[in-house]
């Protein structure tokens, strides 16, 4: 690809992103703020960030880690603890005499701190754990996530973490632009990392560890790097999730959350950033919005539609997931990326199809 084409591609991408933000801004002006669309967009953006961070580890470095919920928890708590305004400390930490942290930091600093805290934990956990392989690594990281969850509910840490009680009253966002901007910047950083020489080393490790080592790639260093960076962004994602929920409690960050994110990553395609982003929006939209009608009792005239009741939405949704997993093994995108060329491809494909149909008609 020559320089000119590269620049053209960059301009198209930038223009598409700018258009996206303008569309979001316009939507916010015309639609009511509690529209379901915004719930999906906000949660989708947050899950996209977490899914991409997990993809960096599972899809690009080939490290099968299941610790994501734990790192999100650290991020969420770090953010909440350092941003609850001082005047609310007495009511939030009512069982712990107002807590022991007597200062707050600005939101952006707290977001970075959230990531950093998760990254530091990941670094320490990675030292012993990253020597393990495949399933053993998975179960060990899952174990660490559970240990972290127990620690954050420990009463002795109550003055900091509020024990097993909720943390609340910290600043959150109302505009959908905020999670999009933060998640967008983070995903951009991850993409830059993946396209750098470090990213190529990660992929080499994924494809064949022994060959990669023979080519002079320091396995321990690169695995540690990937694990730490992935956790950094999982931490930021956790902080965003805390902001979205407006309250946070350690008990919610169960291993089920990690499984959900893993499903998103695999449905999007292991090793595809745009696949992860796409599938997290689809996942959230389908589970929270499009299938909503299945949960309500519906009558056609006097006839009650059978089966529809609270919880049926999730059953249908999990059947859909199973179908995708069984029949589209490589996920939506496989290991390819969405780009201007993909759209070009779709257009060509459609034109060919439609063109052929026209020919048939004329015959």
């Amino acid at each position: 690809m020559d320089k000119l084409q590269k620049r053209k591609k960059l301009i198209i991408t930038a223009a598409a992103l700018a258009a996206l933000f303008i569309i979001l801004w316009v939507l916010e002006q015309i639609l009511p703020a509690n529209a379901m669309l915004f719930v999906v967009l906000k949660k989708g953006a947050i899950y996209a960030l977490v899914a991409v961070s997990m993809n960096l580890l599972n899809g690009f470095t080939g490290l099968f880690s299941l610790g994501q919920a734990g790192f999100m928890l650290i991020g969420a708590y770090t953010y909440a603890i350092f941003t609850i305004p001082l005047e609310y400390h007495d009511s939030v930490y009512q069982y712990f005499n107002g807590g022991i942290i007597k200062f707050t930091v600005p939101v952006f600093a707290a977001l970075i701190m959230a990531g950093a805290a998760a990254a530091i934990f990941a670094y320490l956990i990675g030292l012993p754990v990253l020597r393990l392989k495949s399933d053993y690594l998975a179960i060990a990281t899952l174990g660490f996530a559970e240990i972290i969850r127990a620690f954050f509910q420990w009463d002795a840490l109550g003055p900091v973490t509020n024990g097993s009680n909720l943390l609340r009253q910290y600043p959150s966002f109302t505009s959908v632009l905020f999670p999009f901007a933060v998640a967008g910047v983070c995903i951009l950083l991850i993409v830059l990392l993946i396209n750098s020489s470090y990213g190529r080393a990660f992929k080499a490790i994924r494809d064949d560890e022994i060959a990669a080592e023979a080519m002079g790639i320091n396995l321990a260093k690169h695995k540690q790097l990937s694990f730490t960076i992935s956790s950094f962004f999982a931490g930021v994602g956790g902080a965003l999730l805390a902001m979205y929920q407006t309250t946070v409690q350690a008990n919610a960050f169960k291993s089920a959350m990690t499984y959900e994110i893993l499903l998103i990553v695999v449905i999007g395609g292991l090793g595809s950033v745009s696949g992860s982003v796409l599938s997290s929006f689809l996942f959230i939209a389908a589970s929270e919005w499009w299938l909503r009608f299945l949960d309500a009792d519906t009558y056609i005239g006097a006839f009650k539609v059978p089966l529809l009741a609270s919880g049926f939405r999730k059953v249908v949704f999990s059947v859909i997931i199973m179908i995708v997993v069984l029949f589209y093994r490589n996920g939506i995108m496989g290991d390819k990326e969405l780009s201007a060329e993909t759209f070009g491809g779709i257009r060509r494909f459609l034109r060919k199809r439609l063109g052929r149909r026209k020919e048939e008609v004329t015959k």
Partner: protein
């Protein structure tokens, strides 16, 4: 000695819970031994068995409900393997594991839908739910029979694997999938049998486990499932005696921790133990050493 008498209650519960974990862990370890698959759905099959008992015992007499629960659970395990795992036999290992997570997600959501998310009261099974006192501790009969039943079932299973034709086939398949296929072993049959045995033991484990607890909820299979898997890894995955020993160690330690007043950390402790053993001995207590060939 004083420690034992003052904590007898917890130690007894620990042994009992350990036996129940062992019954679940065998399902994990056998499936892993043959398919190299962490069967995340196993804990939910265990949960499903609990719900079946709730619903069946409400309408049927106990002597029909009990065998029926075991039978349907076995059928469920068999169907799950056929529908969700068999089509992916030649797919990468990641796909089949995701399929297992999908099944787990499905079973939990289905249970949630059927029960409307409410915890269901688990029926008292006659005789085994009765109380009994051992020294200073009072407990249910189930606590005493669990370890005995576990040992009987495990012995039977080990005999089956060591001395029958199907057992030999299982050992062959777990050693080398493709070669055993070439030697004329019907691997689909062997894998189905593995799932049937695993689900049978999970059903028995579920009857014993939930007798100790008042209610069943859609997520009550997740934690015991995870812990049983930890027990299997702890003992060396693929090894049945390893899984049993691991399960008893984890059950007892967890309850002693509870007895010391550290309930918050009883789950965390299990995982800490796992990580320590994995770092010190990456294949578990009884695991075989694997060598990678380039």
């Amino acid at each position: 000695m004083e420690f034992i008498s003052s904590n007898l209650q917890y130690i007894l519960t620990g042994i009992s819970v350990g036996g129940q974990y062992a019954l679940i862990a065998i399902g994990y370890t056998m499936v892993y031994g043959i398919l190299r698959l962490i069967n995340f759905a196993h804990g939910d099959i265990f949960m499903a068995a609990g719900f079946m008992m709730v619903y069946l015992s409400a309408t049927l007499p106990m002597y029909i409900a009990l065998p029926l629960v075991v039978l349907i659970t076995v059928l469920l395990g068999f169907v799950v393997e056929r529908v969700a795992y068999k089509p992916l036999r030649n797919a990468p290992r990641m796909s089949i594991m995701i399929s297992a997570i999908g099944v787990s997600y499905f079973l939990q959501n289905l249970a949630w839908y059927v029960t409307s998310g409410l915890a269901k009261q688990y029926p008292a099974i006659p005789w085994i739910s009765d109380s009994i006192s051992i020294g200073p501790a009072t407990t249910k009969i189930v606590t005493v029979i669990t370890p005995l039943l576990t040992i009987v079932l495990v012995t039977a299973l080990v005999l089956l694997i060591k001395h029958t034709k199907i057992g030999m086939a299982m050992r062959a398949v777990s050693r080398d999938f493709e070669t055993s296929q070439c030697m004329g072993i019907k691997i689909n049959f062997v894998i189905s049998i593995t799932f049937i045995i695993g689900s049978f033991l999970a059903a028995v484990g579920s009857l014993l486990y939930f007798s100790n607890y008042p209610t069943v909820t859609p997520i009550s299979g997740a934690m015991p499932g995870l812990k049983a898997f930890v027990a299997a890894v702890f003992g060396g995955i693929g090894s049945i005696p390893g899984a049993v020993v691991g399960a008893f160690i984890i059950g007892i330690c967890e309850n002693i921790i509870k007895g010391l007043g550290w309930t918050t950390f009883s789950d965390a402790f299990t995982f800490a133990l796992l990580i320590i053993i994995l770092v010190a001995k990456p294949t578990g207590l009884f695991g075989e050493k694997m060598t990678d060939k380039v």
